[in-house]
Symmetry: C2
Subunit: 437 residues, 2 copies
């Protein structure tokens, strides 16, 4: 059999594989051919085996899978910090919705998505799941920067910034799926807002479209205590029970938040193999509540991490989400072992990818997609190093990411963004800033 | 009157003064002469007034007071991540204490403190309060890097890694104060570990020494629920009540943690003008509990922020502490206004300085000490910008700090550390890493 030459070797002091055995390889490397990982192992061995490969990473670096952000509203970066520290109703009704109503359109979404992708890319996020308006514009921007994304047009029972009717919504959502279903880096989905903003009939129509195209469904579930009361008073059931009763829940559903669950609902999520996007910083900042993550993990629910939109967070920094999740759940569980560092890294990578329906993403092993990042460890806040998981969770920052590869393409190279025009994206953000203010 | 020429003008798009009116000056500047701020105002005006001054900062930057870390054990950076996610007793008794017993000495403290100072400096912390062993070695290292610090030798009723007896401890603690009391950047203090590790007699002796030299007292108070029970069973009172009953509490006391307080104890802290060092990330990660910060603020208690040591946190990142504090207290109080961004910035600067006994530090106004940092705002995660406080709390990172001045001296210049040898400090950390592992 002829030897397959590698295009790239990415190496470092440590390769955190997130494979089934959670192997960490000292002086390790990953070989990539086209968009696929073809080998993972000792660096010296791989350099000998693939002498012609181009080289990424280096001594003093750590190699790991790119991070997976399971819940975002990327274009909302343009409303970052426009209103904070206000009661939720005032924040939404007097600030966010009026601004969205006035400004959101295809151009806003296109420009804002590029800024969001730049921020994610610089912080090591290689895949994200998003629900917003004007998904076609969003997809074009994501493609231009080179990230991987699961994108779904958001739908409500009522008119929105993007559509005049539910009929128009379904048409737009379906067209988006048709248009982008064959694109390598974009996985089109469909995104009904929530069980309180979408009636069972709407949800069934959504499910029909999702089934037709084998597309994921991305939805907010049980984010606030208010929602639980609302759904109970409308349908006599709690949100997850209600969704299950109408046959909505299965392994194609990405349920964001899942803060207010009772034990029976956790069982349902596990049984139906629903993926959960845990957004700890948004839940804290909006005082929504604390999702019962340790209980979900014990019951075998698939849980990934997400930033939520930057208007509520206020950044798209997955390293910060990892750290906050690992710390906050220890306190809430009164148990220092409640969410350990290794589990937090797993949730931010492989488990997150599974939540989004990928089974060949978020880990470094032959056959997996080549979404790989490296961190520079030669920094004051990362020395000494006794345990790589501990550092990734409790000490590393987004700014430590120095190389990013998505699908075999280099997007960030030795700290320099090479896949898009940074100055142009920042200039556009300033332009919109002046308009929106 | 002859015009006083300025040595430096530090300017930017925004000057966040943290003065009494919390003024934010657009296109502002700060003029510095020797180690003192002599003017704050419009940049164009100050450039005209001081044409000969050297210039720091720039367009697209934000100027603010250096951050004040009110509770640290700096040398513990060398044990960063050596053990995590373990029950507290196992963590201390099987990992931290044996490692400290084996390794902690004057050389360890000297080398480790330099690494800690480098990390703090790069993240915008200009002043910190510390309690550890071998304070003389610590002070020399702090001086060599150029930060401002309140340092106190830690004492217990029992022998430690540093001393064989309480008598030896008092001698060493007092000598340290005598030796360093006239040093510009070092404020010597004395640091009895806690009410459970120091009996009333020890605390009275500490108080006597502190009074003799007008030195602050730095102590852990009410960090865990266990401590409350322990003090109650020994003295029949809760920790703060106990300390007040023995006449220990006054405005010279820096009380770290203060997690487990009842309303009466909050009143005592306010009445006695005790400074509180709130260490949210350590309290979360060690599952210690949530300090009642909104209640303390309502009662007028002075509260600053602190990182605690890097073995329990695992970094010395004040921007991360600010963000976590502002988010977590919203959730716990079920109130989005519980700890707003402006208050969080105040706690990390001026209020923290007050906790440490400085009344001319932590804000930008004529007569204040020239501890000033600038952040680069031209970054994807900081655009657009509608509110500077929101960005400082919810979006900025340690890595956004690009200039640091302490006491009129530049330590970090356009992202480059110029006050110490970074490569040497990192190399030492690697050396100790190999030994300790």
């Amino acid at each position: 059999m002829a030897k397959v030459p590698a295009d790239y070797i990415i190496y470092g002091d440590y390769v955190v594989t997130v494979n089934t055995a959670m192997d960490v390889i000292s002086n390790g490397a990953v070989a990539v051919k086209d968009n696929i990982i073809i080998a993972v192992g000792d660096a010296t061995t791989l350099f000998k085996k693939y002498p012609e490969a181009k080289v990424l990473g280096g001594k003093g670096q750590l190699v790991m899978p790119g991070l997976v952000n399971t819940h975002n509203h990327a274009p909302m970066v343009y409303l970052r910090g426009i209103a904070d520290d206000l009661p939720l109703k005032e924040w939404l009704e007097e600030h966010i919705w009026p601004k969205e109503g006035k400004w959101v359109g295809s151009e806003f979404v296109s420009d804002a998505t590029k800024l969001a992708c730049l921020e994610m890319l610089q912080g090591g996020t290689t895949t994200f799941a998003d629900m917003y308006f004007y998904c076609d514009a969003m997809a074009r921007s994501v493609k231009s920067v080179g990230l991987r994304a699961v994108l779904g047009e958001t739908g409500f029972d009522f008119p929105t910034a993007a559509v005049k009717s539910l009929a128009e919504y379904f048409q737009r959502a379906e067209e988006f799926i048709q248009l982008w279903q064959d694109e390598a880096l974009i996985k089109p989905s469909i995104a009904p807002h929530s069980p309180y903003a979408c009636c069972p009939e709407t949800l069934k129509k959504v499910q029909h479209i999702a089934h037709k195209y084998n597309a994921p469904i991305h939805i907010h579930v049980a984010e606030t205590e208010w929602e639980v009361q609302e759904i109970k008073s409308k349908y006599g059931k709690r949100p997850v029970e209600h969704l299950d009763a109408i046959g909505f829940l299965n392994e194609h559903v990405i349920a964001a938040h899942c803060v207010w669950l009772d034990p029976h609902e956790i069982e349902i999520l596990a049984k139906r193999k629903v993926g959960v996007a845990h957004c700890i910083e948004s839940n804290l900042k909006l005082a929504s509540g604390i999702a019962p993550i340790p209980a979900m993990l014990r019951e075998g629910v698939k849980v990934g991490l997400g930033t939520d939109g930057a208007a509520s967070n206020n950044d798209l920094n997955m390293f910060s989400e990892i750290a906050t999740a690992a710390k906050v759940h220890k306190l809430f569980a009164k148990d220092l072992t409640a969410l350990d560092a290794k589990t937090a890294v797993l949730m931010a990578t492989k488990r997150g990818a599974e939540v989004l329906g990928y089974n060949n993403l978020g880990f470094l092993a032959p056959g997996a997609l080549a979404d790989i990042i490296t961190l520079d460890l030669e920094r004051a806040h990362l020395l000494p190093l006794y345990n790589v998981y501990s550092h990734l969770v409790y000490a590393a920052n987004a700014a430590d990411v120095v190389n990013v590869m998505v699908n075999g393409e280099i997007l960030l190279h030795n700290g320099e963004v090479i896949s898009c025009d940074v100055a142009e994206i920042l200039a556009k953000a300033h332009e919109w800033n002046r308009k929106i203010i």
